[in-house]
């Protein structure tokens, strides 16, 4: 018999498979925090499905003692859509990376988000290809030297959250692989949200792109390098003497120096609101990049909208109501028929 969800622990979500990521990989911490938060979400393991594509992050389902499907490169969102459409009672989680999700799978990521399928997408962003040994990715910075770009990358990178917002994502958040508490908070929020929850996790690859997110992972540096988003609170960050706020004018963010103790209200600092109907505000936040801006961490946007799977169920019910449950004999004999004796 299944253990009641209330009594489940992290162990109930941990499979017997040996985890095979490189030592020091950010994925370990993400896995541990997912396993920790699962029992709190009131989900029993049989109701949970982890779906992944190809890449380091995509090994994730093997380590979860839930249902899991390790699919093909870039297509996890399409598989997840089929699973959720088929059975909306399942809690479906997509695990992907910056290569899997934004290069080969960009098309499917776009469409699962715009359809607002009720799934949670975790995009591990380490700005490099790990499993194929170190090529640059769609989120790598211009100039990054890798085996495939010995003279430096000339691709302009894409910001995962801007991409998601461009597809009108209803829930968008960013968190960091070393911050257990914040990750768990974001995962809980994602599970509570009805519709596609898109989470970028800044994740370190110690082998091919070490310290890419150092200033956001390091406890001292992140106070100034990051900006913690809190609904209803002004966009203010920074340590003593380096306080700064964000003003957003015509959709363009600007850093306002608050070091001299300037008054937040007179400085016209924006107050964070996750619930803006238009994605434009969240898009302004997503456009804030290092080093010119502190990098926003937290929930950018959380708005309600009809889900694909919900509407599909509704249509089925409406069709049943309108036409009655289907009858095969009637169908085969519908329209013009004739009888030969």
């Amino acid at each position: 018999m299944a253990t009641p969800a209330a009594q489940l622990t992290r162990k109930d979500f941990t499979s017997d498979q040996t985890v095979r990521w490189c030592p020091g990989c950010g994925d370990y911490s993400i896995l541990a925090n997912i396993q920790r938060v699962m029992p709190e979400l009131g989900l029993s393991p049989e109701k949970v499905v982890f779906v992944s594509g190809i890449g380091c992050s995509s090994r994730f389902p093997y380590y979860m003692d839930t249902y899991g499907f390790h699919t093909i490169h870039g297509r996890a969102p399409a598989f997840a859509t089929g699973i959720k459409a088929s059975n909306p009672d399942l809690s479906v989680w997509v695990v992907t990376g910056d290569g899997d999700g934004l290069a080969i799978g960009g098309n499917h990521l776009l469409h699962i988000i715009r359809r607002n399928v009720d799934v949670n997408i975790l995009l591990f962003n380490n700005r490099v290809y790990g499993l194929t040994k170190g090529q640059y990715s769609p989120t790598s910075r211009v100039g990054m030297k890798t085996k495939s770009t010995p003279l430096g990358s000339i691709d302009h990178p894409i910001d995962p959250l801007s991409f998601a917002l461009g597809a009108a994502a209803t829930f968008v958040a960013r968190t960091v692989d070393v911050d257990a508490e914040h990750m768990q908070y974001v995962f809980r929020r994602a599970q509570e949200h009805r519709g596609t929850s898109f989470i970028e996790i800044l994740q370190n690859c110690p082998v091919f792109n070490d310290k890419e997110w150092d200033e956001l992972e390091d406890k001292k540096q992140r106070v100034d390098a990051g900006l913690r988003l809190q609904h209803g609170q002004p966009l203010v960050t920074g340590s003593e003497g380096r306080r700064r706020g964000i003003r957003i004018d015509s959709g363009v963010p600007a850093v306002i120096d608050l070091a001299d103790g300037a008054d937040i209200s007179t400085a016209d600092i924006a107050v964070h609101n996750e619930n803006h109907h238009s994605p434009a505000y969240a898009f302004a936040l997503a456009s804030m990049e290092r080093p010119n801006f502190p990098l926003p961490i937290g929930v950018f946007r959380a708005v309600e909208s009809a889900t694909y799977d919900g509407m599909l169920e509704q249509q089925m019910e409406q069709a049943m109501e309108l036409r009655g449950a289907g009858d095969l004999r009637n169908l085969l004999h519908s329209g013009e028929t004739w009888t030969v004796k």
Partner: protein, 612 residues
Amino acid sequence: MAKKQVVELEEIAIRFTGDSGDGMQVTGGKFSESTMLAGNDLSTLPDYPAEIRAPAGTLAGVSGFQIHFASRNVHTPADQPDVLVAFNPAALKTNIADLRPGGTLIVNQDAFKKRALARAEYEESPLPGLRDRFNVVELPLTQLNRKALEGIDLGSRDIDRCKNFFVLGIMFWMYGRDLDPTQRWLRGRFRGEVREANLRALESGHAYGETTELLPTSYQVPAAKIPSGTYRNITGNAAFAWGIVAAGVQMDRQVFLGAYPITPASDILHEVARYGHFGIKTMQAEDEIAACSAAIGAAFAGSLAVTCTSGPGLALKQEAINLAVMAELPLVILDIQRGGPSTGMPTKVEQGDLPMALYGRNSDSPMPVLAASSPGDCFHTVFEAFRWAVKYMTPVVVLSDSYLANGTEPWLIPDIESLPRVSIPPLPEPESFQPYRRDPKTLARPWAVPGTPGLEHRIGGLSTEENTGNVSYDPDNNERMMHLRDQKVAGIVADIPPLEVVGNEQGELLVVGWGRTRGASTTAVEAARAEGLDVSRIHLRHINPFPPNLGEILGNFRRILVPEINLGHLTRLLRAEFLVPAEVMSKTQGKPFKVGEIRQRIDEILSSEDDS
């Protein structure tokens, strides 16, 4: 009025041709319907351009619909029409070569004016030159139709658009067909003045046929002797759609169809999308890959999953299909083959995808392949594919083609009770559950669906350990699993009945058909045998695995002829598999085989035998 003559015929083939805006498909469809209701056996061939509306009156824009009906069994839409109806010079030019010598040509003489002739690249009217070879009936159809519709409050363009129904009325008179079904259809389909105009055009055409001196004869094709039962008209694509619905009902499972629009498969999606009240879910995905992937996801979640496409789409789906092979999930893939390679001729016929279905995936990736042979057969073939998919936990591909997809035939509606009810194997207890523990008989793994407590497991595309399903790079395990997947698919042969030879069990020549070559092969072999030639015939629905006695049958003939609309796909397979001297009869013109072509090849082969 002089009394008109009525001539009885055994069979007749009519081709309606005109501009793609002239309503030829509707005209042909309505004529077919009345012909079926009159009890004839029939076969049809719609032939339309890929362009939605090519420039009016041009050769590229010609659309046609051929119907062959008889008081005996009909297997093909006929090699040559006996009657050609041409609405404009372009239609005449592109079709006249097919008309049987001495056949009847009915033209709209109002359309044979200077500009229309020029658009069809005629310098002068071709009609005078045709009068010695054909029975040319020139009718002022545009004028007659306008006159009939006088007083109707529509513009002249809309009035002229009704002339296909005027012609249909004439044809209904000529072949003694009932107007009633078409009248009912028009009343349901149109309203107001448009309804009135079409109805009046139809009725006036009929009355005109009765009275005009230009048409001295009408014809009667008595009802065919066909098995008793209730019949309907069906296209291959509609039969697929209904087979999908039937599988869901008979297996008591939700159906999920993932598809991306592609000619000539889209109609399956359109049709299935109408059956939400059967609990069927359909999804128009963002591309072919997603359509297939979503279907596989749905299969993992417990739905009867299906995706439909054509050649270029099948190519895109292959990586996902290979995952379904590896993950051993049930999935049905409908491939409506079309002219290729590449974009090819999207609305024309080809049997081009057999090697891709069998071998188009990396590594050894065994997948069952079925081929439907007539529009109605599509229903039973897709049903069989679902049975295999869930019994053996495997993707199954069903091959059809553009000709089957849109062609129609009278279809004996199956008795629901006669359809097998398929029970899906029960799941093991959690204590003994292993995701890749196989049924000893079928070698299928259990279909443990998310949501089932205690059966949580992970699957994927990586090499998996026998029984446990854990990722494994063990060399021996990999080899064992490779053979197990192969044996599983090969073992489906247990569900395939032995093939029956039509004709002698052994002899000089065997004609091997697959897919829609059935009709032409059947008629050609029947005719040759009637003349005492030593030729027999088999037809393959099951291509992987082959029927159990195929090798034995092939070994009993000196020569083996395989007509196929490609350069020899099945032929090469038979040679490789059975070491027999199979020879291809190839045709790749985007058109089906003619009976005469196969018949001629049979004669050539058998007469060369005589010489030796």
